[in-house]
C-alpha cells in the first residue's frame, strides 16, 4: 500500500461526504465517552475504542460521536464508557470489552435498552463538578 497523501485524503473525504449525509438521520445526539486514563489503558480501553469504531462503522451509525476522556473515577471496573443518548439518562458502563461494546451499540444505542449487567454509576463525587476533566 502506498502512503496516502493529504490530497488523496481530501478526495476520499469528499467522496465519503455525500454518503455521510444520506445516513445522518437523528443528528449528533448520541455520545460515547471512553475513559482513557492510566487505569483504562491498563485494562484495555484502546481495544474498546477500536471496537466501538468498527461496530458503529459496520452498522453505519454516523450520528454517534465517540470521544475520549481521562479517568472517570471508577478504576475498579475499567474499562469504563459513558453513554449519552436522547431520552435516556446518562449511563456509565464498567468492565467493557469488545463484546460488551458491540452489545452497547446494539441494545443501548439502537434499541434504547440498557445493558444491565454492566451499568455502574455516575462519576465519583470528587470529579463530577469539573465534568471529569
Amino acid at each position: 500500500m502506498a502512503k496516502m497523501t493529504l490530497e488523496e485524503l481530501r478526495k476520499l473525504r469528499d467522496s465519503k461526504k455525500s454518503d455521510l449525509r444520506k445516513r445522518d438521520i437523528a443528528g449528533k445526539d448520541f455520545q460515547i465517552i471512553i475513559g482513557m486514563g492510566t487505569c483504562g489503558i491498563a485494562a484495555g480501553a484502546k481495544g474498546v475504542f477500536d471496537a466501538f469504531m468498527e461496530e458503529l462503522d459496520a452498522r453505519k451509525l454516523d450520528n454517534v460521536a465517540v470521544t475520549q476522556t481521562g479517568c472517570m473515577g471508577l478504576c475498579y471496573v475499567e474499562p469504563t464508557v459513558e453513554i449519552i443518548a436522547p431520552d435516556m439518562p446518562p449511563v456509565i458502563y464498567g468492565k467493557v470489552d469488545a463484546t460488551v461494546a458491540r452489545l452497547i451499540v446494539e441494545d443501548h444505542i439502537m434499541k434504547k435498552k440498557m445493558v444491565s449487567d454492566h451499568v455502574f454509576d455516575r462519576p465519583s463525587a470528587d470529579i463530577i463538578k469539573d465534568g471529569g476533566k
Binding site: L9, L20, G44, K46, M53, L56, N63, G70, C71
Partner: protein, 192 residues
C-alpha cells in the same frame, strides 16, 4: 501494568494533553534493537519538588481526584523500562513544559510487545481538547529508513472534527497507509 509499548505512549501522551499544552511533539525512533520515545509538551510543567515525586506511585497532585492517593502512569513506565535495561528521563520546568524520554530494548526477553501504532495515534490525535500535536515516526533497519509525520491541525482542518465515526475511520485509514510503508521495509529486512 500496560500490555504494550504503545499503551505507555498513550498514557504519557495523555498526560501532555491534560497538562494544558498548546503544542505537543511525539517522536518515535525505531531501530532493529531499540525503540526511543520522546513526548515533549509546552504545558504547565512541574516544580523541582514535584519532579522528585513523580516516580513515587503514591504521589498525585490531587487536582483531578481529591481523595485519590495514587499516580501510576510514570511509575509503571519506569518499572517497565528498568526491567529491560532501557532508559527513562524527565525534564520539566514549571510553566514551560515537560519532556519525557524513554527507551526500550526490543529484543530483551521482558520487553512488552510494541502494540498497534495506528490505533494509538488515532486515539492520541482525537482527544477533544484544543492542542496541536505533531507525531514523527521513523524506522531505521540497516540502511533502509522510512518515516512519516502526522500534523494534528493539518488533519483537523481537512477532516473538520475527530469525533464522528466517518472522520475517525478516514483518519485511521490515513495513518494506516503511512504505517504500512514502515512494514514494507520490515518485510525487506526479514528477506535478507
Amino acid at each position: 501494568m500496560h500490555a504494550s509499548l504503545c499503551d505507555f505512549l498513550l498514557d504519557i501522551g495523555h498526560n501532555a494533553i491534560e497538562a494544558d499544552s498548546k503544542n505537543i511533539c511525539l517522536t518515535i525512533r525505531e531501530e532493529r534493537f531499540l525503540i526511543d520515545f520522546t513526548v515533549k509538551d509546552d504545558g504547565k510543567g512541574m516544580s523541582e519538588e514535584v519532579k522528585k515525586k513523580v516516580s513515587d506511585p503514591f504521589y498525585t497532585d490531587g487536582v483531578k481526584h481529591k481523595s485519590r492517593k495514587v499516580g501510576l502512569g510514570i511509575p509503571f513506565l519506569i518499572q517497565a523500562v528498568e526491567a529491560v535495561g532501557g532508559r527513562f528521563s524527565l525534564e520539566s520546568e514549571l510553566g514551560k513544559g515537560t519532556t519525557v524520554f524513554f527507551r526500550f530494548i526490543k529484543n530483551h526477553i521482558d520487553c512488552p510487545p510494541i502494540g498497534d501504532f495506528v490505533s494509538t495515534f488515532v486515539a492520541l490525535l482525537s482527544f477533544k481538547e484544543g492542542y496541536q500535536m505533531v507525531i514523527n515516526r521513523s524506522l531505521l533497519l540497516d540502511e533502509n529508513k522510512e518515516e512519516y509525520q502526522l500534523d494534528r491541525l493539518e488533519l483537523l482542518e481537512l477532516l473538520e472534527d475527530f469525533s464522528t465515526i466517518g472522520n475517525l475511520k478516514l483518519l485511521k485509514s490515513y495513518v494506516q497507509s503511512q504505517e504500512a510503508a514502515l512494514d514494507e521495509i520490515r518485510r525487506q529486512g526479514w528477506q535478507k
